[in-house]
Amino acid sequence: MNKKKLKFDFWSIVTILIVAIFALFLIYPLLSLFISSFKDPRTEAFTLSNFTKFFEKKYYYQALINSFSVTSLVTLLSVLIGVPLAYLMTAFKIKGKGLIEILIIISMLSPPFIGAYSWVLLSGRSGVLTKFFAGLGINLPTIYGFGGILLVLTLKLFPYIYLYVSGALKKIDASLGEAAESLGCSGVKKVFTVIMPLILPTLLAGALLVFMNALADFGTPMLIGEGFNVMPVMIYSEFISEVGGQANFAAAMASIMVFVTSLLFVGQKYIVNRKSFTMSSLRPMKAKELKGFKSVAAHFFIYFIVFLAIIPQLTVMYTSFLKTRGAMFTKGFSFESYTKIFSRMGNAISNTYIYGLVAIAIIVMLGMFIAYLSIRRRNVFTGLIDTMTMFPYIIPGSVLGITLLLAFNKPPLVLSGTFGILVVAYVVRRLPYTLRSSAAILYQISPSMEEASISLGCSPLKTFFKVTAIMMLPGVFSGAILSWITIINELSASVILYTGNTKTMSVSIYTEVIRASYGTAAALSTILTLTTIASLLISFKISGKKEISI
């Protein structure tokens, strides 16, 4: 009997390993970041000066104000677009609904900086639209700065609101609306008195998600922010300019960011947990036919929004086939952008897929193990793991990049400059998608499945691989697709961690755009976008559902 207690079984070893991995690649870097933010750059003594410097100089704290103002407006606009869109698409018959949903998902999952860069092509200083309207004597408002960030981020993030809210609307039983109508409440009044209150918690949760995403986004403001400084860009540039010296000030700003995102995250969790009513509809709302002017208006609104959202993808695909001369596109089509990237940047393309596959393999394994441990084998340590897996939500990509670089650019463990550090960043950042979907499906698998297998003579460990893991696969897969897509599109951590040999596609697009080599950037973006679309379609095909759980 005693012997058994001393023996470590497979799961205890896995638990210890996972705790160790998190401690090494998440807790330790994060702690070093915090510590370094309290250190004097020269004397290494404890100081608050990094923080006071931030709050004393307008140049710095303005970035925080800018971040908040643009992020708040992005959130507001996303709600104003996403909610009506979701309502119209759910309550009424809309032509081409299936395609519209796919386009919305594609625009959401494509790399955000592609949006920024396409809008530069269209209405930047020498953009097509700018020139066209200038010919008509009209000066378009500038795409650079506040307005541009607002436009690009809103178009990129309203799909979250759309998906959240239409999910909630689908859960409202039709009888609720009918009850309201039988009581003499219909039309707009019904929407505001019955439907809105029911979706409000979901909407709030979605809005906070949008807020966090907008706040952490690095690529968009970097490409079109110009003079308009926001936090992630500020942290990045301070960090880059101080590398070699000390990065304590950048660390202090990163700590401030983490503090802010933590508050938002806690707020979001609180709202999600407090959703006082769990709804499940036996009979979802039925889409009604719209007639006459209303129908035209609804269709116009939807098509227009979706068209705006998908413009970046269309633009990059189109321009990738244009002939170029230097930074300029010239008349006529050719594959020269593609031949250029394959000859000069083939490395970046293969790196993207190889790193992505390595990371996704690790993510799937970790995701399944952690889900199993925290649901089927609850104890102090698995609870600890559970908590640690929340961290990636609150660490913006660029901050994660900085923490990893600070932690692993010196002995005992030097990872900087290797592809390993990129894989670590991908795993840490994108594990939550796979973990969440793995946990969700495991909750649906009755423990008696496993007990049945055990009672038939299969050891618990073997049962995990023969029964549990196999039954979890569909859920794991749906999350893994999301992890995969977001890995290959990852920029904000990669751009800090890459070196010449470990460049990925997203980093190359970024550097090409900075070099104003728009043709090659377009070709790379097209490959990335098509990979994203292909992954999505394969996932839809395999799961048989046209859905994605964000």
Binding site: M1, E451, A452, S453, S455, L456, C458, S459, M471
Partner: protein, 372 residues
């Protein structure tokens, strides 16, 4: 091969709540043994201790002479049928049934013969290549049974296996289960909260309440001679009436109010003169006649073979206040039906009724024991 199960003073504690305390039980080799009791009384807990899915906080469970407390579940050689069947959805019916045999590394040919045989016995041959999601509840139930039985387990454990089926299928499947169990002759522990089901399938039944075994016995024993009022009312229906024991000229009488006084000769030595007792009379143990307890018919339900009456006694003797007396009349034995509002007299059949002490905790009938 089949074994006897000895449960010796086992204790189960969940977060400081004692669910089972010093519970003992013996299941004989090859027997169909049922744990019966209301929901939450600890049946599943006990079953899962036997299976090895629950830890045992005290006492011992043995298969024959071997204590199994420390043998992990997958080495106990048990067959288990779950409430939700727990059929592996990613395997076909045949693969489900083969699962345990393959783990035992039997030769291919032997696996095939065994699986073919059990598929035939459980009548699911024709679905063997299907995936479980395309089977009905009854068919899934048969797959679960086949999968558990085919490995020739030492014991077969079933936890409310029929509770997800509709009423008709439930009756069909319980005969199927009984038949298959007898054919393969495996010691079986069956859990249910449905007394009718328990009476129909079991060789012996253990009636449980709040983690304590109330009575163990053959179905007819438990029905005809319950050890206390809980068993008397949980298994079938019993009218509980306030009564008194009177002794006159060495003859014992049962007095039910002022109207009825009848000789009774099968009481145990525990009875005293003038003792207040509870008489438990089943609806079919009353005959409607011209003398006895006077009552008024409140309602009548026609059930085909029987007619059930609810009556109000003229003199209220009901132990549970506010309840009505239930009487059933076998249509095969009577001609006359009574109408609502009619007054009748009722006579209990003294050889069959049960007498309990005043708090209902034990029977006063001679020879009635908790465990025969």
């Amino acid at each position: 091969m089949s074994v006897s199960i000895f449960v010796n003073k086992v204790t189960k504690i969940y977060d400081q709540n004692v669910i089972l305390k010093d519970l003992s039980l013996e299941v004989k080799n090859g027997e169909f043994f049922t744990l019966l009791g209301p929901s939450g009384c600890g049946k599943t807990t006990l079953l899962r201790m036997i299976a090895g899915f629950n830890t045992i906080e005290g006492g011992e469970i043995s298969f024959d002479n071997k204590v199994i407390n420390d043998i992990p579940a997958h080495k106990r050689n048990i067959g288990m049928v779950f409430q939700n069947y727990a059929i592996f959805p990613h395997l076909t019916v045949r693969q489900n049934v083969e699962y345990g045999l393959k783990l035992r590394k039997l030769p291919k040919a032997e696996i095939k013969t065994k699986v073919d045989e059990i598929l035939k016995v459980t009548r699911i041959e024709e679905y063997q290549e299907r995936l479980p999601e395309r089977l009905s509840g009854g068919q899934q139930q048969r797959v679960a049974l086949a999968r558990a039985v085919v490995i020739h387990p030492d014991v077969l454990l079933m936890d409310e296996p029929l509770s997800n089926l509709d009423a008709k299928l439930r009756i069909e499947m319980r005969s199927a289960i009984r038949e298959i169990q007898k054919k393969v002759g495996i010691t079986t522990v069956y859990v249910t909260h449905d007394q009718e089901e328990a009476l129909a399938v079991s060789d012996r039944i253990a009636v449980m309440k709040d983690g304590v075994i109330q009575q163990v016995g053959r179905p007819e024993q438990i029905y005809t001679r319950p050890v206390n009022t809980f068993v008397a009312t949980f298994i079938g229906h019993s009218n509980l009436l306030k009564a008194r024991i009177a002794v006159e000229n060495k003859q014992t009488f049962l007095e039910l109010g002022r109207d009825l006084r009848m000789a009774i000769d099968n009481l145990s030595d525990l009875v005293n003169y003038n003792m207040d007792v509870i008489a438990a009379v089943r609806p079919e143990e009353f005959t409607i006649s011209d003398k006895g307890l006077r009552a008024k018919i409140k309602s009548r339900t026609f059930l085909g073979r029987y007619v059930n009456y609810e009556l109000t006694l003229m003199e209220d003797l009901m132990v549970v206040p506010g309840t009505y007396l239930e009487v059933s009349q076998d249509l095969g034995l009577t001609e006359k039906l009574y109408n609502e509002g009619e007054e009748v007299c009722l006579e209990p059949c003294m050889r069959r009724i049960n007498i309990f002490n005043e708090d209902g905790s034990h029977s006063l009938i001679r020879g009635v024991m908790v465990d025969e």
